[in-house]
Symmetry: C2
Subunit: 327 residues, 2 copies
């Protein structure tokens, strides 16, 4: 079937710091990938111009004829109206109401579809990754924050205002720590990397010892990434182990809430924290979730790590563009 127009699409992962674009074949294989810095501080016109350049670059390098590209899909770090392609807001980019689809279509002369990045990542796991064939799936991505995506009946669920899936902002501890959103005790405020690092810093202030003390003392503990945490964890650093176990338990409580409410077949756990701590983290989350989930709801459910890593957003945006262009 090579040569059919619908065989190829371009997927874009537009992040606050970097932009990735790749030509994706019908099989889900990424043929060519182009990476560039996102010039976020230069405004949305420049950022989207840069996206267009990346897309053109990926097409050129892939040696696929332009006429064979059915559409372009872009994953954006904020809520998006998938019909209009307007990005409602993207704090990392300083965006508010940016008509990304329209601007990119003008630049590229190709059909463009925009979607929230976490939704795109969830779709990728559903179409090509851990959740192939699953009807009802929840994606939970644990990193600096906690994002999520909801797939019901095989389709991405957007909700009334197209902002559904804020998994990180279900409330798990009414009087818990303050969240970035202003609430207290959100899932994100308890189990994200930001929460882990905050708790580490507090423990160190209270005199607890850890191999991470130096980074924290130097005042740049907010720079501690998942990798540093994972190193300390693997070296058996007591405090880090304790904090990670606690965060995984919190994540399990969040997952239990999701399971009791939505009874999905699968929960896909992704993001930097999950990748850094791997199977052990997933095991801890699963144990904590099982304890708090109805037996009937638990039966047959699978809690699994994401498979697609850093390619998920690009691939999901590509899948959605392919599907929407065909419909």
């Amino acid at each position: 079937m090579a040569g059919k127009t619908s065989d190829y699409v371009v997927g874009v992962d537009l992040g606050g710091t970097k932009t990735l674009a790749g030509v994706v074949a019908g099989s889900g294989k990424i043929l060519q990938q182009v990476k560039a810095k996102t010039p976020a501080e230069e405004g949305y016109h420049r950022v989207l111009e840069n996206v267009a350049t990346c897309v053109e670059g990926a097409i050129a390098q892939s040696k696929i004829e332009r006429a064979q590209i059915a559409a372009v899909g872009i994953g954006v770090p904020g809520p998006v109206d998938p019909e209009t392609g307007i990005v409602k807001a993207a704090p990392n980019l300083g965006w508010k109401k940016v008509p990304a689809k329209a601007i990119l279509e003008k630049h590229l002369g190709l059909r463009v579809f925009a979607e929230n990045d976490v939704n795109a990542g969830t779709v990728a796991e559903h179409r090509l990754g851990a959740g192939v064939g699953v009807r009802d799936l929840i994606g939970v991505f644990v990193g600096t924050g906690i994002g999520g995506g909801l797939i019901f009946g095989g389709q991405l669920y957007h909700g009334f205002g197209k902002v559904a899936g804020e998994v990180g902002h279900i409330i798990l501890e009414r009087k818990g720590p303050r969240c970035g959103c202003g609430n207290r005790g959100c899932f994100e405020a308890l189990a994200s990397r930001t929460a882990i690092v905050r708790d580490l810093a507090m423990a160190i202030e209270k005199g607890r010892k850890t191999v991470l003390t130096k980074a924290v003392r130097d005042g740049d503990f907010h720079q501690i990434g998942s990798r540093e945490l994972a190193d300390a964890f693997r070296r058996g650093d007591k405090l880090t182990v304790q904090m990670i176990k606690r965060a995984a338990r919190y994540c399990g409580i969040g997952v239990a809430s999701l399971l009791n409410l939505l009874n999905p077949e699968m929960v896909v756990l992704g993001g930097g924290v999950v990748e850094a701590f791997g199977a052990e983290y997933v095991r801890l989350v699963t144990r904590a979730a099982k304890k708090r989930t109805f037996a009937g709801t638990w039966a047959g459910v699978r809690i699994v790590p994401a498979k697609l890593g850093d390619d998920a957003v690009l691939l999901g945006a590509a899948c959605l563009a392919r599907e929407r262009a065909a419909s």
Copy 2:
């Protein structure tokens, strides 16, 4: 169109103490209703025989010809597989894996469809009550416990194991009071009537004064119903007012979690507690929810009281039977 087979259906609300059956016209009007005690202690065969008798009675009294009855829908207090019509469990009836649909079809010689009662109530509010025309709707029913139903894209969402919608068992306070389900801090353990009465009893034990003291002293405070609470509330009983306000605030936290996660267009609040405290309760819930919901998610959302009261389950079961018989 009178006389068309599909014009009439029978809806049944099978409760732990009483059984209601009614013939329902295409308009949603209940023509005739029959009520009987549920002989729960006599086993499921007797209970379903009794349901069949109620259905036959309602048909006979309605003067509608049997041939004009398209189907029978029954709402059951427990999880149901809507395809097989097997009731997975119904603790109030002492049921486990009861093939309610098959047994009733044998008794009645009519097509029967079974559904969880809270799901049926939510469907009724969506088709005939507060939520007509809404795409994404969540029903939250606050009584002895807290139940819920989820409507996405206009359709009831069942989830993988057909047990989705346990709104009462999302966790809102990790270390909160013990819930009937064994967990801590479930929505139900914080905001149900059971929770309100528990907190009242604890406050009285600590010496707080209330007009409800006698009922509590007599040791039958678990018998305090929504009506007694509402009386004390309206008489301005300080402790009761405080407890109801707190429970409404908890309910608002639960609703905020649901909104942030699912971004529905409408939340319908029903059940004994909501009916007893009316508009003031809904106002308190709304205020607490708004404080904790993203502005973009809050935009346009409606939090409204249920409209159908005690008829909801019967009507919803009837709606679903009509739809499923036609499909």
